[in-house]
């Protein structure tokens, strides 16, 4: 979080985390495509030749003035591949909220669990206390024929207390609800911290 009292801006950083190919970049692409262009910046993507996220994607949204401040929301993704560990940890620095994008594909359950454990490990390494960090779970790819029930995914991740949303990110379904949930949680947490 960065509060600029001169411009009365509240800058918040939200990171989309999850296993490779779970739909993190797709979430940002859909947000980019559906948000009023006057309220967003460019979608910046650092990709490999194979079009996989190498470092991060970045998109900034600017909301209208709320309670005297202009919130600016910076959305990041991390690379999902296991070997981009250092990049993930770098992107998590200064995070205000996390969307964990889980892949509903039954065959990807272990990858979901590994990525969640990896998130916990990286937050611990950065000394970011998980209980105070707003986190929203998105169960993506609900249109797959072998999609696991969302409750099963949450149970496997042991995140039953966290808010969760179903999504088909390629169609934009559930993308806005997820975004509203994490931004709302972050704003509430920020308001509590600033008091």
């Amino acid at each position: 979080m960065f509060v600029n009292w001169q411009l009365r801006e509240l800058n918040l950083k939200i990171v989309y985390y999850g296993p490779a190919l779970s739909g993190k970049t797709t979430n940002l692409e859909q947000i980019y495509a559906r948000i009023d262009p006057r309220r967003r910046g460019e979608l910046v993507s650092l990709k490999t030749h194979e079009d996989r996220t190498l470092y991060f994607d970045f998109l900034q949204l600017e909301l209208g003035k709320i309670a005297g401040l202009t919130p600016k929301i910076q959305l990041y993704t991390v690379p999902g591949q296991v070997y981009y560990e250092a990049s993930r940890r770098i992107v998590l620095r200064g995070v205000d909220g996390i969307v964990f994008v889980a892949d509903s594909n039954l065959e990807r359950l272990n990858e979901n669990i590994e990525s969640w454990e990896n998130l916990k490990s990286n937050l611990a390494a950065l000394q970011i206390p998980m209980p105070v960090l707003p986190i929203v779970i998105q169960c993506n790819k609900r249109d797959l024929p072998n999609a696991m029930p969302s409750e099963y995914i949450k149970s496997a991740l042991q995140v039953n207390g966290l808010p969760s949303y179903e999504a088909i990110a390629t169609q934009g379904t559930g993308v806005l609800n997820t975004l509203k949930a994490i931004v709302g949680s972050v704003i509430n947490a920020t308001q509590r911290e600033l008091k």
Binding site: W5, Q6, L10, D36, L63, V95, V132, L176
Partner: protein, 176 residues
């Protein structure tokens, strides 16, 4: 407020007096070098301040640039760490045909980007950049905060934010 949690998450609050000093320092580097642009960002990627010379790069997406600079510096730090050569106050130089780009650490939590014309002597650019980086590190030190107007609100901000997002969202994607 949980001060410990706030600090661990790298939260930053800057007040008008600090931001005015930062702006003055960036203006100074634009004029003195002269530089094409100067940008201060947090190492977490939050852009703090941006200045560009007239006729230069005023229309650049400074927030995206802030995120990229932080990523660039973080990658350079990791390279240094992995190869056992990390030192504080490092400066990354990208020497170009037309423009040189310098990225300097500003303490542990900030980075300064300066772009100069390639005709500018590199030693001069490096010296001025590091000098301004040291002054910026002083300017961003925490100060006693004035009372916050925003924190006193009892409004349900998450609902207001949700309404705001609804108002700028369209179900028909722009596929350009």
């Amino acid at each position: 407020m949980d001060e410990k949690a706030l600090n661990l998450r790298g939260n930053l609050i800057l007040y008008p007096t600090q931001l005015q000093t930062i702006d003055q320092l960036l203006d100074h580097i634009i004029e003195k070098l002269p530089a094409r642009l100067a940008l201060l960002t947090q190492t977490s990627g939050q852009m703090v301040a941006f200045r560009a010379a007239s006729g230069g790069a005023q229309n650049v997406d400074s927030h995206a640039l802030g995120a990229l600079i932080a990523g660039d510096l973080a990658a350079s730090r990791e390279i240094a760490r992995v190869t056992g050569t990390y030192e504080e106050c490092q400066l990354v130089l990208r020497q170009g045909q037309q423009v040189h780009t310098l990225i300097a650490e500003v303490g542990n939590e900030f980075a300064l980007l300066v772009q100069v014309n390639s005709q500018t002597p590199l030693g001069w650019a490096r010296m001025v950049t590091l000098d301004i980086a040291r002054q910026l590190a002083q300017a961003v030190q925490p100060i006693t905060p004035p009372a916050s107007e925003w924190s006193d609100t009892d409004q349900d901000l998450s609902h207001l934010i949700g309404d705001s997002l609804d108002s700028i969202w369209t179900e028909e994607p722009d596929v350009r």
